[in-house]
Subunit: 461 residues, 4 copies
């Protein structure tokens, strides 16, 4: 993980085009540090070289000489929000795939900017095209572009690409086979569904090879995607995937959608269960929740609001309301949950067609606000809710040395809010200032080169 | 198993309309008893009350007074052939499903008659509609109808019915939902794909309930059907299925299509691996073959001839030729193989349409002959080949007390051939006489009431 | 037409199993004879040998000695209702087509009985399977079965059969090609879409051949069916169809759906424009209505009620409301309209599936009542409305010598109502007695052998 | 047509970047002038200001002082070839439509360059996107780009656009509705299938409006496209289209595919019958050929070679071989035929997929050579064959004042061949030099900016 942290640090000098010569002091704010300790009123945070160098009451913290002072009297500061599961390139419609074929990395950077603009300083992309994710991460880490920190998995091991039975088969017979192959291989990078045919030994070797790529963590399919119930990988193969990932020093997560999917991936030793709340046909039984606890697995979840559920078709309502029951049960039992959205950039073209309308839950820049409100609606303790979007994510991904709280030594990623988010989750939307790596982000300029997010539909000429 | 054996015995009295008062002696034949011992020349088999009462050289066997003597000088006699995997109702085309909706049992009896006519005295139906299989089995066992002995599984546990994603989705939007539900439930009987959502405890309970039905053995889905690679059931669920089956005193087999499918079902403790030779994307590794041996599992296989392979499209050739490599490797290693065909009645309507043409491998009355020839083509020892179609099947299904060889005490099921099947597998086709339960079958009259097998296509009027 | 009339007469003797020896006198009724003359109060109708022998005020009509007297004091009598456009076999779902494959004639008779039971003594079937329509007509005309008089066209000349692009393509790939061919040929009888490739001379010859079949009248496609706008047949071909039909002594009607379809078929000289009110994209222009008048064409129409329109999806509402505007405009201009429904038997299976729900407009036994109410809703004069369902239909089909009014010499087809239909169209539903060919119909017994109309959905066993 | 001719002349100065100051004399060539007169050996053609100023034997023609002399001793010169029916933008695959969405005009210019490079100096585009065809024509006529002269129709009146039932419905549900509308409207320009609903008066008005656009000629649908048999427009509507076109001073052609389609459009007074040889289900009857002659209509045809037919599936062979019979019959009867190809740029992506492989007949740069060879195979007189590709096209489009022969006063468009095309049609491929508007074209440089024609399939990275 060290290399990633350093890369992240490397990027600090160029955030929002501000030179990083001088330390920065944020003063007179209520500090909600996400450690679980009570807020610090009239607090000060000092940051230098990208990291927090001091944090505490005004009376306890000395502001270094020459520091730039950012007075935010009466405001609230929280750690930069984190999203445990996004897809910065989620635009799988034919129009986008072809029109922007050479610009996927631009779309990904744009997504990272939408995230950053709305308070997410770090996002974990759990499925996307490797070359483009890598390029985008590099552009941001190098400081060439502003954006949320990106950590990514690349393919979901065991799944074929976007133009396959695992995602959408409507491309077949419409796009040229060559184009379909191009798209699928760009995503799968040698870890496609053929792994399901392999012996567990072979699976282990292929995953070890894949882990040599410059991906930050691994994700594999414990359940199917279109037909969620399938066990997909055998127990032995799952064991092999997790071992190969851990041998390579990466965290490993499993895409799960059934209780057996959860249990088998726990047995395999995964670090993270992805959207473990989405088990559409069965509530997670108490015994299985206890097993999660005992195994120490982190779960990313996809909370929704009642208002959102009201916009959905009947079957989807069931799907989401059951998710909330699972979340509540896991939360009560003490399973460490990580906030996530599965979000990407919602394209105006799909927005114009009801049958394709992407729901707000999966819209970058909106989904995480709604998710936090959703937790509030089921009476989750406000501090715990905040932790699902900060320190829990950092711990789940084993990045809590650098991320997740406002503590000395961590990256200086934080969000200044006009109102208290612990009083009402709606206040997470009251963003005043975003600081990433100790630098104030120029929110007005984001996204810097909008390609998808505000694309005008080309009128008929 | 006892009950089934007795039911089988009950049927003896009415086979081919011959009264069973007197014992029967088959004389002057070369006896190939399938035990592996050398043929007995000038042999005599005496049978009474459905069972073999004596077998040996003419000089060693006394023919009881009053016995009817059937002299077959120069002929060869083998045990009645057995098919480890058929589908007596395989007519999943819409035409057949609807036109014969009230006559599935008639179709099944017709299938059992086609089997018997071509030397198969016992067939194991591994997927079909429960009420109709049960009715057909009863009609035959009670002597009301002539036909091969039927043992059946009903549904493949974990699969939805014929009009589902596990078989064919083309029914959707064409047949009324009500009809689709009717068809699916007729097959699934409460063990459909929803089991994939259940915890292993729930799976165990549902399978225990299902096992209370009057089915002869159980079969479950270790792999998927349409997309063969899916693991389908978790290890834990597979364990639960096998335990529930064994607790109910039934043999349990797994539908497998991948090496991981084979290994996980072996771990679960299955008795039989169904079509374990069909692992289209990977040859079974030697280590896995050793595990089969060690676990004592029986494997049903689907051998084909080179001539048959030549009629297939490229991908299917690959599929079949790889199957033959698996068969050869397993045979050499000593895995007990059981001959099977996956066959049903080939309907003249599909035959008239090239794209629907059912291949001869899956045609009742033809498939098993071709399978035996296929084994000969890869140099399988002739006696071992015969055993795959007799005693191995009996042992795999734990019915070898009654079936599988020509030995005293077993059911008097046998086939008299005009030529030596050990000299050339083609001679299995030279059927002279079929005896089932000690009664000569009137082959000319089979099928007694043909509904599908010779149906004329109704001409336009 | 004589032959048909005679055939109709032949049937009289067996209606409802009543011997026809004695004349029948219906007495003390208000006679609404549909001639346009005012109702006759305290009227008497005498009928004998199937025809009306006297009609008038009680004081003017002598009741023959030995006549059976049917006193219906206070009731109203109207001519038997006629439907200019039905499809007695409209059950084009795969379930019905296959399950009742050998019983189409039974379904047609059942349809004719549903019509008769609800006051329709004569129906004109404008598309259906020739052999079955012929058989059903014969069964009714011969007196073997009770039912409405059937006159039929067989195929719509130029259209392919039910399993084709002209009706439904979903059969392709589901039913065997052989079955599809069987179905299509049963309907088309040599007058399929290939006529669109022929020269007009060839079209003329083929239609002349077709007209030699025992069909009562001809119908051809001036417009397409699925894509209603297509002109389908060239002017020259239309001319040839009409000439061939007239040369054979048959009336000829055109299936029309666009203003150009109407105008070109008028130019060709058709007797009847079928559903000329359904021109979904354009209101019929006044000049074209004048041309209808000048050419003397009859138009069958499909009126609907507002309540019915309210149940429809948006596009269909537009379709129907525009139809009502066309009807009103044609009625005001004096174009002779014929009531029709396009109705068949609504099957309980489609009823059970919302997406297949057949609307009430096209339901035999319901559609004509709704149509008459629909006319009332747009303020059509009650007598004129009645005439659209009686004498106009008879005149359009050139059968008014025998049918359409309550006048001496005509067939004794009539309906006794409990309330005055000229006061409220809802009273058409108040059927007291139906008399066909001078015989009282035993309404309770209809349908005599229900196959489709009350079929119970076979429960899962 | 005058305006167009002038525009064409305007372009002369920039052809192939050669200044046009001096006259040009082509010397010592065998001149095949396409008038039908015998070749002129040792001929000279002098051209100036874009037109031919003298043509004749060397002894009869004076070469102006200062003229540039192009000696081509031993070569053959023919008029620039013309193609009566191309589609310069034929790339209706989703990949091309979206990836090159802003560059259709570039593709069209590229097509015109491929045509010019292979000897076609003039092409008639009979269906394509209006704005882009107009832009491309302007770029070529203005001299900004080199390319064949383009004359175009825009939409086929009565047809919907490329993403519709008239062309391909596979776009539905794949592309956004907005994109589909964009594509369709770009082609149809207000003359879509809704015209089939209109009265003939309305059709006439809409076509008159459309004719005010800057299109060179009109084309309408007398028959359907996907289901070729439909008459589509009524006789009255066809009459209105032709009248509106002629009133606007444009030639009018009809898209025909059936004998009734041909006859009705002849009655309507069309100038040109498009691909009248493609009447797949019926040979054109002799009487109809006589009517073509009598009406003076020109027919564009699509000849193919036997070798080409051998590559086609059975049904297409029938289709093409019947086309050749029609061509032969029309040629023998004296109907003036115009060579055409329906060709566009064949994209390498479709080429890579067998099921999408565009046949060579419709490949720009190849189709016209094959067509000329096809005529030779059915023994068409070589001079007459040449005339189908030159003067006949010019006459059919009423452009023979300027185009079609090598005569004084006409545009100096010609092709110098290394071998005699009248000796063997294969020699049309032996292109030595192409001259358009009196300027030598630099063939090596064409296409100048290849976008589609040599696009490399982007490899997977």
């Amino acid at each position: 993980m060290t290399r990633l942290s350093l890369l992240g640090a490397t990027a600090l000098s160029l955030i929002a085009g501000v030179a990083c010569a001088a330390p920065l002091a944020l003063t007179n704010v209520t500090i909600i540090d996400a450690t679980g300790r009570p807020p610090i009123e009239e607090g000060v945070i000092v940051m230098d070289k990208g990291r927090i160098t001091a944090v505490g009451r005004k009376s306890e913290v000395a502001i270094p000489r020459g520091a730039k002072v950012l007075d935010k009297t009466g405001k609230y500061v929280i750690p930069g929000l984190m999203d445990a599961n996004v897809h910065l390139f989620l635009n799988l419609d034919v129009d986008s795939l072809l029109r922007f074929r050479d610009r996927y990395a631009d779309v990904i950077v744009e997504g990272a900017q939408l995230a950053l603009k709305t308070g997410q300083t770090t996002v974990f992309d759990t499925w996307g095209p490797y070359p483009d994710l890598k390029a985008a991460r590099e552009r941001i880490n190098s400081g060439k572009d502003v954006g949320a920190r990106i950590f990514f998995a690349g393919n979901i091991i065991g799944f074929d690409g976007p133009a396959s039975a695992d995602f959408s088969e409507k491309f077949k017979g419409v796009l040229h086979k060559d184009t379909i192959d191009y798209l699928n291989k760009r995503w799968t990078q040698g870890t496609d569904r053929s792994l399901l045919w392999d012996t567990s030994d072979e699976v282990g070797k292929k995953v070890a090879d894949y882990a040599k790529l410059d991906v930050d963590f691994l994700k594999y399919a414990a359940n199917g995607h279109k037909d969620m119930a399938f066990a997909y990988m055998s127990q032995r193969a799952q064991d092999a995937v997790v071992k190969a990932g851990h041998d390579a020093g990466k965290t490993v997560q499993a895409h799960v959608h059934s209780v057996e999917g959860i249990e088998s991936s726990l047995d395999a030793g995964v670090d993270i269960l992805t959207h473990c709340d989405i088990t559409p046909e069965r509530i997670i039984p108490p015994a299985l929740i206890q097993k999660m606890l005992q195994k120490g697995a982190y779960c990313s979840v996809l909370p929704t609001t009642r208002a959102h559920q009201d916009t959905l078709p009947k079957r989807a309502v069931h799907y989401q309301s059951q998710s909330m029951i699972n979340i509540k049960n896991m939360m009560d039992a003490g399973v460490p949950l990580m906030l996530s959205t599965d979000a990407g950039i919602t394209h105006p073209l799909p927005m114009a067609e009801p049958q394709l309308r992407v729901d707000s839950r999966t819209t970058l820049g909106e989904g995480h606000f709604a998710a936090l409100q959703g937790l509030e609606e089921i009476n989750v303790d406000p501090m715990k809710a905040l932790q699902t979007a900060t320190i829990n994510v950092a711990r789940g991904y084993k990045l809590d040395k650098d991320l997740g709280t406002l503590e000395r030594g961590k990256y200086a990623d934080m969000v200044v809010l006009d109102a208290d988010p612990l009083a009402w989750a709606g206040n997470y939307r009251a963003i005043n200032t975003v600081i990433k790596g100790g630098q104030v982000v120029d929110l007005e300029k984001l996204p810097t080169a909008p390609l998808i997010s505000n694309q005008k539909i080309q009128p008929y000429q």
